[in-house]
């Protein structure tokens, strides 16, 4: 019974002399190997050389600060609830008097952790964030020896005041058009009000 159309008939044909000494086949293989030495390499020497990413590449997260250097995150939990891998956990704290330059609003994330082993870099946290605090960047999460080291706390996630992380490439024309929607106006008003307040104080 024929089970498949791809079966091959095995023949017991005698090998020719050239085939029997194996040398031509061997040389042919060597030639292919040799020819690859002169071709363009497909690998690069990471991390000395870095491949160029797409402008909207989704790599390691950053927690942004606002223009005055205060943390934008208010620990609202939208990123954690949007996260399909449940990689984000946080604990909130209440801003005390005199910490206005550190945190933008009265509530802030006292602890904010992303488990980079769980994270699938889908970018839903960035989409869910109502405060434009979390962004994915074109940085690659480095390798570690211990599992614990992949749990990134605020020390690794929050950008430094003097060393800001550029996320302007992610602001595609579509994103900017969305932010200009009439419905998003209250956010603009809110930031305006905050800045005018801090100006009048200083």
């Amino acid at each position: 019974m024929q089970l498949t159309t791809r079966s091959k008939v095995v023949s017991n044909k005698q090998l020719s002399f050239a085939e029997r000494i194996y040398l031509p086949a061997l040389l042919k293989g060597m030639f292919i190997t040799l020819s690859h030495l002169f071709k363009k390499k497909v690998t690069i020497l990471y991390p000395e050389v870095k491949r160029e990413h797409a402008p909207v590449y989704r790599g390691q997260h950053v927690l942004k600060r606002d223009e005055n250097g205060a943390e934008r995150c208010t620990s609202c939990g939208m990123c954690a609830v949007a996260c399909p891998a449940e990689a984000i956990t946080m604990e909130s704290g209440e801003r005390k008097k005199g910490e206005e330059h550190l945190y933008r609003e009265e509530k802030y994330a006292a602890k904010y952790e992303i488990n980079m082993l769980r994270c699938i870099f889908c970018g839903l946290c960035e989409e869910a964030c109502p405060k434009e605090a979390i962004f994915l960047t074109d940085r690659i999460v480095p390798t570690e020896f211990e599992r614990e080291d992949f749990i990134y706390g605020k020390d690794k996630l929050v950008e430094l005041v003097d060393k800001r992380v550029d996320v302007s490439k992610r602001q595609t024309p579509e994103v900017l058009a969305f932010k200009k929607l009439e419905g998003m106006r209250h956010n603009v008003l809110y930031t305006k009000k905050l800045t005018t307040k801090s100006e009048s104080k200083s």
Binding site: T74, S75, C76, G77, M78, A80, V81, E86, S92, G93, E94, E105, E106, K107, P130, K131, E182, G183, M184, R185, H186
Partner: protein, 327 residues
């Protein structure tokens, strides 16, 4: 008395309001209510969220009412015909009401502890309103501590007067009310006097927005990361039937049990609410019912499994072969 709401007829006793009759029919016709609270006397009539259209006054006088009426304050008449969700005019008018309620609301949901169980949030979401056409400065107040357990964010208040009714009717000696008028009105205590009464904590539960919040739960956790379970204890002052909001082994918050209209079933005392925050203090009955569409049902796997089980039972009733039955 026979009354028809959205094409559904029901027989109700005399003196029932349209809202109560609609709630008797079911959630599909019941208008939303921000200020009306069936457990509190003389509540309702402030927010106008529950407006309905009366297309036929009664069998005796079939003329329609000239404008939308507040269903929480209008009693039914025999043969009355009411339109709620079926009337596009009412849906549009209610959208306007929501916009009015949001005029002074700071929209600080990311910070607010009520987010996730806030009726104003639900209402805004249902009507697709995340924005406001209001161009002027919102009214602003400072935060006030009412006692050491309750925090008042006057900015978020929609002036529903529910807490005032609670303070009036549940506690003796009125110390809590609304001062000033119009745009300047403000919930306040008598010269910032502390409310010290065994039932004063209930103002937190009746508040439909995040104006009155529990200070012992302040910024502890978002509500949708905590798991609600029903529990009880032997309490000398109240019924002791409460809802615990648990994360891991910790009881983060204790509230009264709420029914499907988001109203408290039985008011609980402050001792239950603030002083018993250990699992060992309570006898846990089981997970509380959570609306499937609520964000609180997020990640509640046990709850979903229960639903799946129900679904499987239903399927087997439809003639599917039983799982343990071997062919």
């Amino acid at each position: 008395m026979k009354v028809t709401i959205d094409g559904k007829e029901i027989d109700v006793p005399k003196g029932t309001t349209i809202l109560q009759a609609a709630r008797m029919i079911g959630a599909e016709v019941a208008p939303p209510a921000m200020c009306y609270y069936s457990k509190l006397k003389s509540s309702g009539g402030y927010c106008r969220t529950c407006i309905v259209k009366v297309t036929k006054g009664s069998t005796a006088n079939p003329t329609p009412m000239p404008k939308p009426v507040a269903s929480c304050r209008t009693e039914v008449m025999d043969g009355m015909v009411v339109e709620n969700f079926t009337s596009p005019e009412i849906v549009e008018a209610r959208k306007g009401i929501v916009e009015f309620l949001l005029i002074n609301h700071p929209l600080d949901c990311p910070v607010c502890d009520q987010a996730g169980e806030c009726k104003l949030q639900d209402l805004g979401y249902e009507h697709g309103l995340a924005e406001s056409r209001y161009e002027f400065e919102r009214r602003e107040f400072d935060m006030i501590d009412i006692g050491d357990k309750v925090k008042l964010h006057m900015n978020r208040c929609i002036l529903c007067y529910r807490c005032v009714k609670v303070a009036d009717q549940l506690t003796d000696g009125r110390v809590h009310g609304v001062i000033n008028r119009g745009d300047a009105s403000e919930i306040s205590t008598y010269i910032e006097q502390v409310i010290d009464n065994e039932f004063s904590g209930n103002v937190i539960d009746v508040c439909p927005v995040g104006a009155l919040t529990d200070k012992t739960f302040r910024f502890k956790q978002r509500v949708w990361f905590t798991k609600p379970v029903d529990a009880h204890r032997n309490c000398p002052t109240c019924s002791g039937k409460v809802r615990l909001w648990i994360k891991g082994e910790d009881v983060l918050r204790v509230t009264a049990r709420k029914d499907q209209w988001d109203e408290v079933e039985e008011f609980i005392c402050n001792a239950c609410r603030y002083d018993h925050k250990k699992k060992s203090d309570w006898e846990i009955e089981g997970p509380s019912p959570v609306n499937r569409h609520s964000v609180i049902s997020q990640n509640q796997y046990a709850h979903l499994n229960q639903q799946k089980l129900e679904q499987l039972k239903h399927q087997s009733a439809l003639g599917f072969m039983k799982i343990d039955k071997k062919p």
